[in-house]
Symmetry: C2
């Protein structure tokens, strides 16, 4: 019964195409209304009842959150509400999960986690406050969506409850951050969280507020007014930019061929026999605007915004549509002078709302790369553009090879943007993560005069290997071949552990601890076996469990 | 081909019974010599070649590390060495893993992780320094054992290497802390760690030191002398107690019956139909020594030492021998006055080496409980002894029920020992973890005058529920029945996420992130399927992989 979507999944969308959400803006207050169309899912073997969601629904949500930041900088409060009566959101669709491959489930959860973290990122960095207006049933992923908001208002109608019924009903975890956010973000006491997460019907009314599961409860008659009032209060507290005008995020419209996806600045080419892909990111080919006026005028064509939106889209297509492509060779090309000029512009204008949004979008895209369970190998050759912002791609790679050919100049460069502009999920910059044991090397790299030639880059610890021209071809080819021959699962686990040294955050806890356990459970017969709870749900008969604990 | 050991596994051992290790003490320097007997494993379907290990080998190692602390307080440096030529340790036995059930693999890895953390605990708290004297092959779990030591000396003989071949050879992870310790403890650069963990042959000589995989390399001719010299240097730096005399850890000798294990102070009774167990820990029944002289004289009969050694043993038997017992009802009983006198004694004499060791043993045992993947429900009834140190059991439980019967006195108590003596793996006390969102409540609980009656305990957040005598029977019975009916796997994942809120440490990273991914991989066909790498190892033909990444 495991099926996966045959047609490639597309992530680029627009409010005019939304089927499940309505985005409306009224001055500083935006409302994201959820009204899931039952027949609007990605596959036709399930119906999205009761505002339950699948990837199609979440792609629109992710798009909406991103657009609010770029297209509606005047917004200060976002109300996430349901357009259905007495139901907020029933969570991820169970029949969709039951009929999905393991890999799809894993990637679906990862994407929904990233979307919820994008909500929190907007709250932390864009002066936006999110209110979940919980007007009825709020179960599982529905409550996890509410948990990603700054505040949760629950209607007190004697029946509406928040709940995490995954463990008691489905034998899986609330894996979209639910368990982590309950104890780590909302700091619900662990024994109360234990009760809450094992009671299918959830917790309602006053007790929900007492246990800190919601921020306030409110009778039905006053609910709408209370939500509106709180939205206005929060908007008044925001220090968001005043009279900014948004820019429009146009379609990316890549050319998609059998073995290539080609964007304006990003290209992805597949070698299906080798199970590898070549990813190229090109530096700007024309001088980019360096004044705020011109940056705003350039809008979504401003190189860093365009290039990283493209990269983000490419990574998502790779994850969902190309599961067998295990090793990605990352290259850059183009005019380093134009590129470094962009970095200077970003650094100089980082306090402007649009530049800030661009920097955070680059940050989120790089995090998406860190969290993509494929091996990344950076190949640094003459003509490369691994400098500043684009050098983050080499730092994000699992390893890097830099050609050391005395006949051909080949350099990499660090800019002020590498200092702290693009923190990883662990809260550290990629340079700090790289030199966890040698913090002085971070400063040394950042204060280095000019570009690094291969031996300088090697000595500075910025690249893994710097083979000479005689060894280059064989060494790189063998590294890629050997990588592509290793077990995909072992690599996924290995990379998840090596990429995130240092401190843990809510985010790394979600992607490390919680996700790993959820993925484990998603393999267990008690959940996904023919008699498992996820398969048995909605059918006759109860699930049957192997009672051995491990 | 999956088999599990039929005979119950026993954890209580003694150097005179060791088959695989030789513990020798020479003044301040102890040597733990590894000489694994090929036919000395727990099962007879594999042979422990090349100092590879199984649980039998690790049980002795855990015992030895514990005994050094209690029986040889004069020791300041422990050299972990091999008694075989040109081989240090080849890691966990692959054929043992290949033939083990999933649950056994998971619990085996957990125990070996705890043993390695016990080495680091001894280093952090008992003034011991551990040197791994790597005289030859040091692969996988062998290198992970070395990583747990303070220093690694590698022989430089042109061939001896340290390696983590799990991913390239077996399609699993170095799951006994290897990946975490490489990047987080030794702070090996992530790209170098990536190379290291994918190269089956490992890294040797100067490069191993340059990459920080070892602390020093030394030619064969000078190796023994260099190890001895370094051991002496480290011993000289230690501030360990001077002329202390150890105490002997005698056998626990519980009475083991079909449905009960009974120790002096601890009892475990199984209800196999319900898949539950009753765990009782009894307070001392005689006044305990309160002077150092008498504590030393009491030795292993001193109540806290005896009781928590028993509890530790009971937890291990539960994990390995009783996989279907999913819910543990925790009770305490006995004389609270005698118990709180013990807490005062521990607190007053905490700087004495033996009292310090007792406190750390209690701490490790409570951590073992936190990490035991069973549900714990504390039942607090009249006659209980949930006070001070024993109250940690209620705090460690997933939830607690306290009978509120106006006719019968029923209290719990907090002592100075609850403040910071027994940190969890996350570095916080159980009170701090419990009140992550309300730190003031920690101080309020610690400064409370006298014991807490049920309503006081409830108001202070120290217990989950306080049903009255009318509700008590049904409420507790239903809670246990409902718990025992939930999926064992979902509960394992849920508890692993709810129990460890707050900061992450090397330890929680190992048990959360690393272990969870390893357990996931231990389920994957690419590792454990008939064509998987773990099954294929040592047979003809290569493993076959499903190349989809997720």
């Amino acid at each position: 019964m495991e099926t996966s979507t045959a047609a490639p999944i597309v992530f680029d969308t627009h409010p005019s195409h939304y089927r499940h959400w309505k985005l409306s803006c009224d001055g500083p207050i935006a409302t994201l209304g959820m009204d899931v169309q039952e027949d609007g899912g990605l596959r036709d073997d399930y119906r999205l009842k009761l505002n339950s969601y699948d990837l199609a629904v979440d792609i629109e949500l992710a798009d909406a959150v991103q657009r609010i930041r770029f297209e509606h900088p005047e917004v200060r409060t976002v109300v996430i509400a349901s357009l259905k009566e007495r139901v907020f959101c029933a969570g991820a669709n169970i029949f969709m999960l039951g009929g999905s491959t393991h890999g799809f489930k894993v990637n679906f959860c990862k994407f929904t986690n990233e979307t919820r973290l994008a909500i929190e990122d907007a709250s932390a960095h864009s002066g936006l406050r999110f209110i979940a207006a919980v007007n009825g049933t709020c179960a599982g992923g529905g409550y996890e969506l509410a948990l990603a908001c700054d505040e949760i208002l629950l209607v007190d109608d004697g029946s509406s409850a928040v709940s995490l019924p995954e463990t008691p009903l489905l034998a899986v975890l609330p894996g979209t951050g639910g368990l982590t956010r309950v104890v780590d973000k909302r700091r619900v006491r662990r024994d109360l969280a234990d009760v809450f997460a094992t009671v299918a019907e959830g917790v309602k009314g006053k007790r929900a507020a007492e246990w800190r599961l919601v921020d306030a409860v409110c009778p039905t008659s006053r609910f709408a007014a209370a939500v509106a009032e709180r939205a206005t209060e929060l908007a008044a507290q925001s220090d968001s930019p005043s009279e900014a005008h948004g820019i429009e995020l146009g379609p990316l419209s890549p050319r998609v061929e059998a073995n290539a996806i080609t964007y304006r600045y990003v290209g992805l080419t597949f070698n299906r026999v080798q199970r590898t892909a070549d990813l190229v990111v090109r530096a700007p080919d024309t001088p980019q605007p360096d004044s705020l006026e011109h940056i705003v005028a350039a809008g979504d064509q401003f190189w860093p915004l365009r290039a990283f939106r493209e990269l983000d889209d490419a990574l998502l297509r790779l994850r969902f549509n190309e599961p067998e492509i295990g090793t990605i060779v990352v290259r850059t090309s183009g005019d380093v002078a134009l590129l470094t000029a962009v970095d200077r512009t970003l650094d100089r204008h980082r306090d402007h709302w649009l530049v800030r949004e661009v920097i955070h979008l680059i940050k989120r895209t790089l995090k998406r790369l860190d969290l993509t369970s494929r091996s990344f190998v950076a190949c640094i050759e003459p003509g490369n553009a691994f400098a500043g912002t684009l050098f983050e791609l080499a730092l994000a790679a699992d390893r890097s090879y830099m050609l050391d050919d005395p006949e051909r100049a080949n350099t990499v460069g660090v800019s002020a943007m590498n200092r702290a502009s693009y923190p990883m999920s662990n809260g550290l910059s990629r340079l700090e993560s790289r030199f966890l044991g040698e913090p002085d090397r971070v400063d040394a790299a950042l204060s280095h005069e000019g570009a690094f030639d291969p031996q300088e880059a090697l000595a500075a610890g910025l690249v893994t290997f710097a083979p000479d021209d005689l060894d280059w071809g064989d060494e790189v080819r063998m590294a890629i071949e050997e990588r592509a021959a290793l077990s995909p699962d072992a690599l996924t686990g290995m990379e998840a552990n090596l990429r995130f040294a240092g401190p843990e955050t809510l985010e790394t806890k979600i992607f490390g601890r919680l996700t790993a356990w959820q993925n484990w459970i998603f393999q267990r017969p008690n959940a996904v076996g023919e008699r498992g709870a996820l398969k048995a749900y909605g059918r006759e008969g109860r699930p049957e469990f192997d009672w051995r604990r491990c």
